[in-house]
Subunit: 342 residues, 4 copies
C-alpha cells in the first residue's frame, strides 16, 4: 500500500509500505476512506516530537471500513464503517476505567506517534472495541473525520474543562482549527459572549461566521478588560501553546474564573501567583481523552454540531504531499482542515 | 480601650484607642473575649502589605460578645456570643450571592487590613448579620477562634479545592498552622495517605500527632515519587507561598491530580506547562470565602474536628506584644497558634 | 390604588385598596408597570391554596419602578426599573446562604400568597436588595416579566435539576407555559431531541415553533419508548402535577436518567420502586429558588433567550378581570402568558 | 466439584457439579477460597427471583485464586489472588464506558443469578479483566470478601448517592448488613450525626459499635424530627426495601435533602409529592455498579475501613447448608455476615 512516512525533521515521503496485519486479537485493520492532517503532524515534521521513529506512518485521524478483525473484537465486524479515535484506549487499565483514556497504560496517543497511523491506505487499530466508533448508516463521512481529534480536543480540554455555562463571557485565544473547535462546542452551553483573539484578521473573520460575538486582534488584554467593563472573562481558553497567549488568559480572567489550556507548550510559562493567589481561579490542562465522542456523535447526528464547516480544502489521498504544503501555509492558504479521500 | 496598632514596617504598639462606635445600621460592636495572631499579621508587620494604613488596629480573628447592634441587624442581639469571620460579607452583591464572599464588593478581607481589627478590647463588625456566627450555648470559646480564618482557609483553599476523596494520596507542603489546618480537615474525607512536607523536623513531628501518615523533610520530590511508586499524588496542597514549595507540588502531581494553592505568594512562579499540558491536572487558587463556617461549626460541635489542638501558647490580651514575639519565632518557640484572652 | 383581590374560592374583584407603605427598613415600594397571571393564581382562585387570606392582592410576577425605599436598602434607589422575583429572599438565613431562597426563613413564596402581591398599581417588596433585579437601561420590559417566575421555574426545577446535557434525549410532559419555559431553557444545553408531550394538539404545534424536535399527544409511553428505540429518555421533566403525567416520566426514563418534577401536585403518586430500584435514576423536586435570575438576565440581554415569545395576549391592568377569564380558558383562547400594562 | 445449587423455592442442595471450564477467551476460572451468603440469596431461596434457573449454583461474592485464564485475559494470570465483583462488566458497552457497570449489556448482576456463582469450589468469571480485582500481597482475605457486594452497595447506592458530607445529619433506615455497610462508609465523610433506625434492638446495639451516634427503634418519624429540632435529616438512606421504611425516609427528609434508596423493593410505594413537590429533595435508586471497588480497596489497605468487623460467623464451605440456616435466622443468631472457607 501507499502511505505518508516520516524520515526525520523536514522529510516526508509518499511511499510504498507493507499492508498492516493483525498483531493482537484485539486489533482490526481499517481501509482508510478519509483522513486529515493535524497541527501536531506539522510539529512532528519540524522535529519537535523526537520520540517518533524513523519511517513511521503519520496521522491519527480518519474514518474507514473494517477489512479484518482480531478474534477478541466483539463490537465491530468486517465491513463496518468506523470513526478512528486519535486516542487508543485498552478499556481495562485504571486510567481507562476512570475515563482518562489519554493516560491509558497501553494506549493513549500512539497512532502516528509510536505506531503507524492513518495517513495510509490501511491502518491497524489496536484495542478496536474501545478505540473506534460506528458511523451511522447513510451518514456522510466528512463530519466524522473532525471527531477523531479536533472536536473532542476543543470540547474536552477547552469547553468542559473551562466549565462554560449559559450567560458566560468566554475568551478563546487562538482562532486556528482547535480554537474554532472550542468556539463551535462552547455554543452547546449558550454563553452570552465569545470573544475570539488572534493576530490574523482573516481567521477572526472566519471565527465570526462560526459564532464569535466579538473579535480582538491587537492589544488583547486591554481590549478584553474594556469589553468586560473591567471584570474580565468567566472562561479563558488557551488554544495556541505559547507564553504570550497564556499571558492573555491569566491577565483577563475574572475572579472565580477558569483558564482551560489546550495548547501544546514547548516551554514553561510565568504564572503570576503574586496576583492570582487570591483570585479564586482554576487552571486546567488536558490531553484529550475522547471520552465525549459518543456525545459528539449525537450532536452531529441531530444537527446541533456541523463540524464539516471546518473543512476548507479537499484532496485525493495520493495528493497528500501537496496537502501538507497547503496546510503548512494555513494563513496564506486560508486553510482550517483539509480532507484526504482514498 | 487598648489595642494593638500598626505604625509602619516593624512598628507596633499596645496603645490607647477610642472605643469603636456603630457607623452603619448593619454594624455591631463586639467586646473581644479571645483573639489570636495570624501569619498574615506578621506579613503586615514586615511591610509586605502596603495598603494597611498607619495606626490601624490589626487582627481578623476572634470571638466575643455583642455590646451594641445597629438598627438593621436582625440575626444577632446584644449579649450574643459570636465567632468573627475574617471575611466580611455584605450578603447582597453578586459575589456574595454566588458564595464567593472573599470578593464581596463591600467586604472581603477588610478587618485588620483596611478597617480596625480584632486585636483590641472592642471591635466594630460591618455587615454583622452575614459576617458573624453564633457560638453554641455552653461551648468552650477556644476552638471557635480557630474557625475565624485558619480552619476555613485550610479546608476551602486546600481540601475542597483539592477535592480530597476517600483512598486518595495527599501531599501537604508546609506544616505551619495553615498546613496543619489542611491536614486536620483533609481527614474529613478519609484519604489513604497524607504526606506532610516541611524542612523543620519539629513541625513534622507535630504533624504526625495531627494525623500525617508520612512525613518528608528533604529531597521532597524524589521522596514523594518513591513513596507513590512513581505515580505521584492525587492532591498536592501548597501551604507556604514560595516558588520552591509550588515546584514540589507541580513535580509530584499525578496525571488527573489537583494542585490547591493556599500560600500567599509575593512573586510569580515558573509553571512547567511543557510537561503539564498533557497531564490533565487542575490548579486552583483561592482567598478563603468562609462559606464553610457553618459546616465547620457542626464538625466542631459533633467532635469530628478539634481545632483547639492547634493552640500552643496562651496569653492575656495585654501581653500581646510578647505574644507577637513568640509567634514571630514560631520555629524556635514551637508555636502553632497563640490565644489572647481579654 | 386599584388591585385584584381574592375573596374566597371563585371570587375576585378589581377594587380600591390603600396604597402600600414601607413597613421595614429593607422594603421598597414599586409602581408596577407590567404584570401577568400565573397558573398558580388560578389554583388559588379554585380554593386549592387555603392559606391565602381573604382580601389578599394576588400576583407574584412583574416589573416596575421604585417609588420609595427603606433606609436599609442599598442596591436600589427611587426611579430604578426593577424585575420582581416571585421568591423573596432575606439573604441572611441558612437557606439563603446556601442558595435555596425558596426556603428562606422569612421569605420564600410570599408575594400574592401571604402578603399583598403584584396585580396592583403598587406593591411593597420586602428584602428588596435580595429580591429585586435591575432591568438594563433601554431594555424592553416584557421579556423580564417572564423572568419573575416562569423562566427560572422551568430552568431550575426542570432543566438544571434534570441535568440536561448536549446530545441528550429529553421528554417534557406538559406543554403549558411552564413546559414551554423548560423547552426554551433546555435548549441552552443543546440536547439532541426534545420530545414534547401533551393532550392538546394546538399546544404541541406551538411547542414545535419553540424548538421541540418531536411531539407526542396520545399513547405517550409507547410512543416515547418507540422513538428512543426502547431505551427511554435521558431526562423526563414533569410540568403538570398529576399522577398520569408523573407516570409517563417514570415509565419512559432510561437507566441512569433524571426525572425532574416541576408540577404542583395535589395528591400523592405511586412510585414504582419495584421496577426503579435498580434503574439508577434520580428524581428531584423543587420550588423555584430564582437563584439563576442573574444568569437568565444575561441570556436575555445577549439574545440567547427570547422569553417574550411566550406572550400571547396583552391587556391594560384595569382589564385584569377579563384577562383572568382569557387565561382561565387557555386551551380555547390559545393563551400562554398574558401581559397586563399599568 | 461440590457446589450449592438452587432447585426451586425453598430447595437447595450441596451437590456434586462438573468443574467449570473456560467458554470465552475473556473468562477465567477461580478456585474459591472464601465466599459468603447475601440477603439476595435468601430472596432467591424464597422464590422471589423467578428468572434464576433450576440447578443454578448461587453466590455472587468471594475471593479466590485463578487456576485457568482465557487467551484474551491480560490483567490477570494463573495463581493471582482475586476479589470477585458481584457485577460483571464487559468494559466495552456504553453503560460500562459511563461507569454504570450494573447495566452492562452483557454483564451486570449475572453471577449466581443467570450463570453459576461463587458458592462452589470453582467458578467461571466472564470478562475477568474488568470484573476482578487484585488482592494485595500478604493481605488477609476476609475483608475483601466484604468488597464483592455489600460495601460498594452501601457506599455507592447509599452514601455517594446520598451525597453525605462533613457536618451532615444522616438517617440510615435498616441496620442489617447493608445498612451497616452504609454506616461504615458514611463515616468516610465525617457527618456530625448518624441516626440508625431498626425495630431490632440487638442490631441497634451493634450499630452503635460501628459508629452510629444515635439509634431509634420505634416511632421513628417523631423521634428523628425531635432529634433534629424539627428540621429533618440531610440524608436518609433506605436499606430495607419496603413501604414503611421508605415512608420514614420521605417523612424525615429536610428541605434540600437526599433520599438514597438501597433496598430491593417488591412493591410500589406511595410518594407524597403533594408535600415533597416544594421540598427541593432528591431521590435516587441504584443497582450497585462496583465502580468504587478500587477506592474501597485503598481504604481497606490504609486501615480507614475494616469491613471484616461485619463477619459474625465462620464455616467451612462444605458446611454451607448450615450456614444458610444460621444466616436465615439472622436476628436470632445475631448474624451479620458469614464467611465460608474452602
Amino acid at each position: 500500500m501507499k502511505a505518508l512516512a516520516y524520515h526525520g525533521a523536514g522529510k516526508r515521503t509518499w511511499e510504498e509500505k507493507p499492508n498492516p496485519a493483525i498483531k493482537n486479537s484485539t486489533d482490526v485493520i481499517v481501509r482508510v476512506t478519509k483522513t486529515t492532517i493535524c497541527g501536531t503532524d506539522l510539529h512532528i515534521m519540524k522535529g519537535d516530537v523526537p520520540e517518533v521513529p524513523e519511517g513511521l506512518i503519520l496521522g491519527h485521524e480518519g474514518v474507514g471500513v473494517i477489512t479484518e478483525a482480531g478474534s477478541a473484537v466483539s463490537n465491530f465486524r468486517i465491513g463496518d464503517r468506523v470513526l478512528i479515535s486519535c486516542i487508543t484506549s485498552c478499556g481495562k487499565c485504571d486510567a481507562c476505567r476512570k475515563g482518562m483514556y489519554s493516560h491509558c497504560e497501553k494506549g493513549g496517543w500512539i497512532l502516528g506517534h509510536l505506531v503507524d497511523g492513518t495517513q495510509a491506505e490501511y491502518v491497524r487499530i489496536p484495542y478496536a472495541d474501545t478505540s473506534l466508533y460506528h458511523i451511522p448508516d447513510g451518514a456522510d463521512e466528512e463530519p466524522f473525520v473532525m471527531l477523531s481529534d479536533i472536536l473532542p480536543t476543543g470540547f474536552e480540554c477547552g469547553v468542559l474543562n473551562g466549565r462554560v455555562k449559559p450567560g458566560d463571557t468566554v475568551a478563546i485565544v487562538g482562532a486556528g482549527p482547535i480554537g474554532i473547535a472550542a468556539l463551535l462546542t462552547a455554543q452547546f452551553y449558550s454563553p452570552a459572549e465569545i470573544i475570539m483573539v488572534d493576530t490574523d484578521i482573516n481567521r477572526l473573520d472566519v471565527a465570526k461566521t462560526f459564532g464569535a460575538t466579538r473579535v480582538v486582534h491587537g492589544n488583547a488584554v486591554d481590549e478584553i478588560i474594556k469589553l468586560t467593563n473591567g471584570k474580565g472573562v468567566d472562561v479563558a481558553i488557551e488554544a495556541v501553546g505559547i507564553s504570550d497567549t497564556f499571558d492573555i488568559c491569566q491577565s483577563t480572567i475574572a475572579a472565580g474564573g477558569h483558564i482551560a489550556n489546550i495548547g501544546v507548550h514547548g516551554k514553561s510559562v510565568e504564572l503570576h501567583l503574586e496576583k492570582l493567589w487570591s483570585s479564586n481561579v482554576t487552571i486546567t490542562t488536558r490531553l484529550v481523552d475522547t471520552v465525549t465522542t459518543p456525545l459528539l456523535l449525537k450532536t452531529v447526528q441531530s444537527g446541533k454540531l456541523r463540524p464539516q464547516k471546518l473543512i476548507t480544502h479537499r484532496f485525493a489521498l495520493n495528493q497528500i504531499m501537496r496537502a501538507y504544503d497547503t496546510f503548512g501555509n494555513a494563513a496564506k492558504e486560508k486553510a482550517l482542515k483539509v480532507i484526504l479521500t482514498n
